[in-house]
């Protein structure tokens, strides 16, 4: 693995992964203004784009389809040509801002085996990630992407849950699968929307240290309903404080 720090956030749907991913991006951009930061939205719903206030024109999957089409029409295209084509077109999907760059994976369509799609995603993520100092991946809900080994090489794995039984249950199963299939250096849990500290006593056996506990935040909910990005939040918003704490605890 290169020096790139790859942060992946996984957990049940609706626990706040996307907001926390956006908070990581904002915090990293403020802590390291010169650093190259890439946010990858691996959730087909593309919620991270909204949370970061960027507009997605193309996804990696759109490009994958175009490259496959080009390969079908071309006469015996060599692998280096296809990779060159992907490298050429990736900039059509990359949204670049002063603070960070953004890439949406999109929704791989089609029935049956996803091996080729996953191999492509891994290849592209590997290829692009090397050029960044920090990569933040907002994973899709559940453990599918871990099972499909899309997130095989991450340096810091964040298990995200809210203060619900189901959230913690999913977190435990993700931790178990990730332990077998993902090569990570550090793993920590972030527990979101905790208003009663006693809840944490019920979370002693989740398989990873809790690196941050974030209380509910009315301002965040208001920001969200207004469709505003994470950059519109006040610097002392609990999610931003919680994100910084998690990054520090994980040594980032």
């Amino acid at each position: 693995m290169s020096d790139t720090k790859i942060l992946a956030l996984v957990g049940k749907g609706g626990v706040g992964k996307t907001t926390l991913s956006a908070a990581f991006v904002r915090s990293l951009a403020q802590m390291h203004p010169e650093a190259k930061i890439l946010a990858i939205d691996a959730d087909p719903a593309i919620g991270l784009a909204i949370a970061l206030g960027v507009e997605v024109k193309q996804t990696l999957d759109d490009i994958r389809k175009e490259v496959i089409e080009a390969a079908k029409n071309g006469a015996g295209k060599a692998a280096v040509e296809l990779l060159g084509e992907a490298r050429f077109r990736i900039f059509d999907a990359l949204v670049e801002t002063e603070e960070f760059s953004f890439l949406a994976i999109g929704r791989p369509e089609g029935a049956g085996c996803y091996c080729a799609v996953n191999a492509y995603l891994k290849e592209v993520i590997d290829m692009v990630s090397k050029d960044f100092d920090y990569v933040v991946i907002d994973g899709e809900a559940g453990i599918e992407q871990i099972n499909r080994r899309v997130m095989e090489k991450v340096s810091h794995l964040f298990l995200v849950s809210d203060a619900s039984f189901k959230g913690v249950q999913v977190l435990r199963s993700i931790q178990k699968v990730a332990g077998e299939l993902v090569m990570y250096e550090k793993c920590g849990a972030v527990i979101n929307r905790v208003d009663n500290p006693e809840i944490l006593e019920q979370m002693s056996d989740i398989g990873a240290p809790i690196v941050s506990v974030i209380p509910s935040d009315g301002d965040l909910a208001l920001n969200d309903i207004k469709g505003q990005s994470i950059f519109a939040l006040k610097a002392d918003a609990s999610v931003l404080e919680g994100a910084k704490r998690a990054l520090e605890q994980m040594g980032i």
């Binding site: 190259k36 071309g74 006469a75 015996g76 040509e81 084509e85 670049e96 290829m127 050029d131």
Partner: protein, 247 residues
């Protein structure tokens, strides 16, 4: 090898009487390279050659006719990298002098041309991020702010390209032309680039086997335009008839 001679003639005619700066190849005036493709982000970029909405063209032509060459050289037509201040139209044209491949198997000719063409995927000058599309024929380049400060010029980038081309077996001489002049007929250049790609694609199809009856052949149009392609096809077939198989 005369497949590209017609196209080289067209390029020569198109660029005739144009002001040009010639730099003979100098091995110790190259530009440092990365060991792999490195991405330059917009915030690191001073400007982009062939940026979206501007012409961006890459052409590679190979010939065994030495009369097109006067030694290895870099040619610049238009503003050099240090003079440019904003996005500009761009073309890179590479002319390669090869061994005569007369009588060679189609497979060998194809492989040799492919090796020469694929150099474009393996040159990674620092602060000079090349994006090249075989599909569209476009080549766009992001020019890094830092590299400009350090004195990057087309001469040094061209020498780096020449170093790579000269390392390909069969390349005897090479000329790399950088075009940033705004009054060039880029549409015509794009057509030439398209034809150059079609020639290599046709060779790929020849390897796979094509009918000997021209009226039903997929590549008859390009065969009609490109001198030497039909000879290559039928030369191959003749050898097959003589019992020489092609893998």
């Amino acid at each position: 090898m005369k497949l590209y001679n017609g196209l080289i003639g067209q390029i020569t005619e198109l660029l005739a009487n144009r002001e040009a700066v010639h730099y003979p190849y100098t091995a110790d005036r190259t530009w440092p390279e990365n060991d792999h493709h490195r991405m330059l982000l917009q915030k690191e970029t001073a400007y982009e050659l062939g940026a979206f909405g501007k012409p961006a063209c890459n052409i590679t032509c190979v010939t065994s006719d030495a009369s097109f060459f006067a030694g290895d050289e870099v040619v610049v037509m238009g503003a050099d990298l240090q003079e440019l201040k904003e996005d500009a139209p761009y073309a890179r044209i590479t002319l390669l002098l090869s061994e005569d491949m007369e009588g060679e198997e189609t497979e060998n000719v194809y492989q040799t041309l492919q090796d020469m063409d694929f150099v474009k995927y393996h040159v990674y000058p620092k602060g000079y991020m090349i994006r090249t599309s075989g599909q569209s024929g476009r080549e766009q380049v992001r020019i890094g702010k830092e590299a400009l400060k350090q004195g990057m010029t087309f001469e040094k980038i061209g020498n780096t390209f020449l170093q790579h081309y000269k390392a390909v077996p069969g390349v005897k001489q090479a000329r790399v032309i950088f075009l940033t002049a705004t009054d060039v007929n880029f549409k015509e250049l794009e057509k030439i680039g398209f034809m150059a790609t079609e020639i290599r694609n046709s060779l790929s199809k020849l390897r796979e086997g094509l009918p000997t009856e021209c009226s039903v052949c997929d590549i008859r149009e390009i065969c009609n335009e490109v001198e030497g392609l039909r000879e290559l096809h039928f030369g191959t077939k003749d050898r097959q008839k003589r019992g020489i198989t092609i893998s």
